[in-house]
């Protein structure tokens, strides 16, 4: 038996009688490096989840090199340079090291954020080793050129394959039409990937991954003192900053509103037509956040009781999946209504969905609908935070969006305060249904 396996087995029973609930009492502090830390202690299970967010998402990709953030994130797990007394590790040695610890470090990029997610058991020897390995990986990625060449080929081949699917075609068209030249609409293609070299990744790493820029969220069986030490170790090998607490990164332009409606009817022979309707939505720091969130729950976010579900699916059987959502970020992410239907029904389905949207924006919800939405959102609040993983999602959102530390405690009050008039006014401010992007791929041609 492998020694670590034996150790794990020996330890498993210890947590059994541990007391229970994670604390909503969020702790927050700033380290001397400038790194900001948010912690919720959750002692019941001997594990910890750590999320480190940097302002290094794809919105900062140069236009000609769309995909740089995502490529850099994926290449961060492809091997480590030698550092100090520690020998280099190739991609397989690194993967084996993580597996042997029963731990993982996942890097991912979104429009706004570059995120690293460390998950480890909290038995001291294992946690220490996991944190040390993560620190090395954050600080000394090897970015091997031959591996990037291979990955680029794989991503490009998958990109072409995805382009044979009506859903992908619709989504690519929609994103471009909604965001125009804004980086939220940029797409990594084989051409942009061809322009990305490992030197670009090294520069990206040096300029964006610095301790003073890190926002670290932690949920798990660690105390504040342990968390503080853990974060120090984790960030210690990152590239040095300018010594002045990180100069601000260049501003990124805002998303422009649509100036005119866009309609794209794309011929494609498929079993279903894919329909996307929408426009730029709103920024996460918008004061209308709660009115828009509650409103969208009623319109198309609330699953099997939403207006879109009732009109498109329950009453007419037009689509299996029909929904609406906002995607607020540092900029105005897209508002999207989506459905898929038999090609000959596309015209009807688009008509129904647009009518539901227009009426909702014009009239808002009824009092009864609002009450039902509040019953679900407020009554079900506990379901949003009933595991470490869910709690971490919420805490990293607080960290990223500069939300108050009592955000979770006041969430239900904020929902309760929303009125029909608030929703109507907020939707009228944010949505112009007559000026939407409408993309339909695969409808029966007229």
């Amino acid at each position: 038996m492998h020694p670590i396996t034996t150790a794990l087995l020996a330890l498993l029973w210890l947590w059994v009688a541990a007391p229970a609930q994670a604390s909503l009492q969020l702790q927050h502090w700033t380290q001397p490096s400038g790194a900001r830390v948010w912690l919720a202690e959750s002692p019941a299970i001997p594990m910890v989840d750590v999320q480190i967010d940097f302002d290094a998402g794809s919105r900062r990709d140069p236009a000609a090199q769309a995909g740089l953030a995502a490529a850099s994130a994926s290449m961060l797990s492809r091997g480590l340079r030698a550092a100090g007394t520690q020998a280099a590790l190739d991609e397989n040695q690194l993967a084996e090291a993580w597996t042997d610890l029963g731990a993982s470090l996942v890097a991912r990029s979104s429009l706004d954020r570059m995120s690293f997610l460390l998950r480890s058991l909290t038995y001291r020897d294992l946690l220490d080793a996991s944190v040390r390995l993560a620190a090395r990986q954050l600080g000394h990625p090897a970015f091997p050129a031959d591996v990037w060449q291979r990955e680029r080929e794989r991503i490009s081949a998958a990109y072409k394959e995805a382009g044979t699917r009506p859903g992908t075609i619709a989504s690519r068209r929609f994103t471009r039409a909604v965001f125009g030249s804004h980086p939220y609409g940029a797409e990594a293609t084989p051409e942009t990937l061809e322009r990305i070299s490992v030197a670009d990744m090294q520069t990206w790493h040096r300029n964006h991954l610095q301790a003073c820029r890190a926002r670290v969220s932690i949920v798990g069986a660690v105390t504040r003192a342990q968390a503080d030490e853990l974060v120090r170790t984790l960030l210690a090998q990152l590239p040095r900053d300018d010594g002045r607490g990180c100069a601000p990164l260049p501003a990124v332009a805002e998303v422009s509103p649509l100036s005119a409606p866009v309609e794209q009817i794309v011929p494609f022979e498929s079993a279903q037509a894919h329909v996307l309707i929408g426009q730029p939505g709103f920024k996460r720091n918008d004061p209308d956040f709660f009115a828009l969130t509650v409103g969208n729950h009623i319109l198309g976010g609330g699953g099997f009781v939403s207006r879109l579900y009732g009109e498109v699916r329950e009453k007419r059987g037009l689509s299996y999946s029909v929904y609406s959502f906002f995607a607020p970020g540092l900029h105005a992410g897209a508002f999207t209504v989506g459905l898929q239907t038999r090609p000959d029904q596309a015209r009807q389905a688009v008509g129904v969905a647009r009518e539901v949207l227009e009426r909702f924006v014009a009239d808002g919800p009824t009092e009864a609908e609002l009450q039902a939405a509040k019953d679900n959102l407020i009554g079900g609040f506990a379901l949003r935070i009933d595991s470490n993983a869910k709690l971490l999602d919420n805490i990293s959102a607080i960290a990223w969006n500069d939300l108050p530390l009592d955000y979770l405690q006041t969430w239900t009050q904020q929902v309760a305060r929303v009125s029909v008039a608030d929703i109507r006014a907020a939707f009228a401010r944010k949505l112009q249904p007559q000026r939407s992007v409408v993309v339909v791929v695969g409808a029966t041609p007229s």
Partner: protein, 534 residues
């Protein structure tokens, strides 16, 4: 999977996939690391058992202790409890008091395996119709009531079972038990509701299968691997069977299989077993006992020769999938089949259990790599016959035949040279750690208990499986690699990409072609217009 929650949909507009264990695709998700899911499923239940603890270990731990905030005095988790009501219905309770929420699930041991020719997909259609009313509730009312409680709900259908679940604040447990018992006993709807919902189910089939070449390939591979077993049919059903389905087909299936002795209620979370027992007796106890119909075994035929299918479809990338008939684990008795089924799980993990495992290293790396992706998985437990899968996407310039040979060569290498202790221990370490991580999700714990019940396995099947997997030796792994991977138990499916004509597909499935030939004009009046903005 019945219905898709639209709250957390990814921005590409595709619906959230259902949990893998219950995915509609039956066999294996196309290119994913399915093996990991199989392994994770093993790691479920009670790590809590002290029986796995070597005595005298005095670990240095930073964990439990240092509590802040509200902490229950009860244990965070405890062993599941099981009992049977007088009408035959099974109840399983798994307390986990970390948060004031609970999961309530109703499992019925009826899935696509219980269907017959001509009505494929009926188990799944019934799952949809269960949301369409009872003697006392109208269409959509069930969902509105669960929503008003703050709840989230959905349902899923697999080959072996159908499940319904609600996640709720634990204070509302009784109300969802009342609603679910009512639905189980009194599901009722008008033919008109069926006519609308069957169209929704067809849209679901189009979304998941008909526009996905790999899903279509797997459907046909499956129909070739199995001849006598009902596993040959897709869970969602053939489109032609959906076209021909009647309301009475659905009601018949409901009356036949939705009897208390064929169902289990699983409750997990912030609950007390004695209280759950009282509520179960009150609400589910009223369901009249009925005899369970006889199940015909319909056992699969022995395979004695390789089968091979070709599937041509517009696509960019080829795909190859190999399906070997292998034994399943039917109990924890030490039989040759049970031992082999466990050793095959270890083999799959050594091949593809983590990044840097054998398939990744040998097939996906290097300047002359043969695959853009390669995966392996082992079926372990199920009500029907099991397979070991190997699959992948050829790298640019490589053929499906080259990849097929390379995949088999990796198994042959193990049959010849065996596996190292380091590899073996690595995958075992991963399982042991995942037993702890699993505990974070009450939902997953409830789901696994339901799966074990469906398979006729004990509640501690996860724990027993891990213990048995840890004991698998390198010699056993070598031995199963030698004995189960010959030509004669193999079925191969190859996706041959066909050219796209411009932006248009050149071929359509018959049903979709018929639909496309139907009435109606395109969408919108202006046709393709230039993107005018800014």
């Amino acid at each position: 999977m019945k219905r898709i929650s639209s709250t957390t949909r990814p921005a590409n507009g595709l619906p959230l996939q259902p949990p893998r264990a219950t995915a509609l695709r039956g066999v294996a998700a196309s290119a994913g690391r399915v093996c990991a899911a199989v392994l994770a499923a093993l790691a479920a239940v009670a790590v809590a058992s002290a029986s796995a603890t070597p005595p005298g270990a005095a670990p240095s731990t930073v964990a439990p202790g240092a509590v802040s905030g509200p902490a229950s005095t009860a244990a965070a988790a405890s062993q599941p409890v099981q009992f049977t009501l007088p009408n035959g219905l099974t109840v399983i309770v798994k307390p986990d008091r970390r948060a004031p929420t609970a999961v309530h699930m109703l499992w019925v041991r009826a899935g696509s395996i219980d269907e017959v020719d001509g009505t494929s997909g009926v188990a799944h259609v019934l799952e949809h119709m269960m949301f369409k009313g009872t003697r006392t509730l109208g269409v959509g009312e069930y969902s509105r009531r669960v929503s008003a409680l703050g709840g989230r709900e959905n349902a899923f259908t697999s080959r072996d079972y159908t499940g319904y679940f609600q996640q709720i604040p634990s204070a509302h447990l009784e109300e969802v038990m009342r609603l679910e018992a009512d639905r189980f006993m009194h599901n009722q709807w008008a033919d008109e509701e069926f006519r609308r919902e069957i169209e929704v189910v067809k849209e679901e089939r189009r979304l998941r299968t008909e526009d996905s070449p790999r899903a279509l390939l797997y459907e046909q591979l499956n129909a070739t691997t199995f001849i006598a077993s009902p596993y040959r049919r897709p869970i969602v059903g053939w489109m032609n069977d959906l076209d021909a389905m009647t309301p009475e087909d659905v009601r018949d299936f409901y009356r036949r299989w939705y009897v208390p002795a064929n169902a289990a209620v699983v409750v997990a979370g912030d609950v007390d077993p004695a209280e759950v027992r009282r509520l179960a007796e009150k609400h589910y106890g009223a369901i009249p006992a009925r005899a369970l119909p006889q199940r015909k075994p319909r056992e699969e035929l022995p395979q004695s020769g390789m089968r091979r299918i070709e599937f041509k479809w517009p696509a960019e990338q080829a795909y190859v999938a190999l399906s070997f008939r292998t034994p399943r684990l039917s109990s924890f008795e030490r039989t040759a089949d049970n031992d082999d089924a466990l050793a095959l799980v270890v083999l799959a993990a050594v091949l593809d259990g983590h990044t840097g495992a054998r398939l990744n290293r040998a097939l996906e790396q290097g300047s002359d790599r043969v695959a853009d992706s390669a995966s392996a998985w082992a079926g372990l437990w199920a009500r029907g016959p099991q397979t070991f899968g190997l699959a992948g996407i050829p790298a640019p310039g490589k053929t499906p035949e080259q990849l097929e040979a390379a995949l088999r060569a990796e198994v042959a290498r193990i049959a010849r040279d065996g596996v190292s202790e380091a590899e073996l221990n690595r995958v075992k370490t991963q399982w042991v750690a995942s037993e702890v991580y699993k505990l974070d999700s009450v939902m997953n714990q409830a789901r696994e208990l339901g799966v074990f019940w469906s398979m006729g396995l004990p509640l501690d099947a996860g724990e027993q499986a891990i213990a048995r997997l840890r004991a698998v030796t390198a010699e056993q792994v070598k031995s199963v690699a030698q004995r189960h991977f010959g030509d004669d138990q193999l079925t191969v499916g190859v996706l041959r990409p066909q050219p796209m004509e411009g932006k248009r597909r050149v071929r359509l499935p018959n049903a979709a072609a018929a639909a496309a030939a139907g009435s109606s004009a395109g969408v919108g009046a202006t046709g393709t217009s230039a993107p005018a903005r800014h």
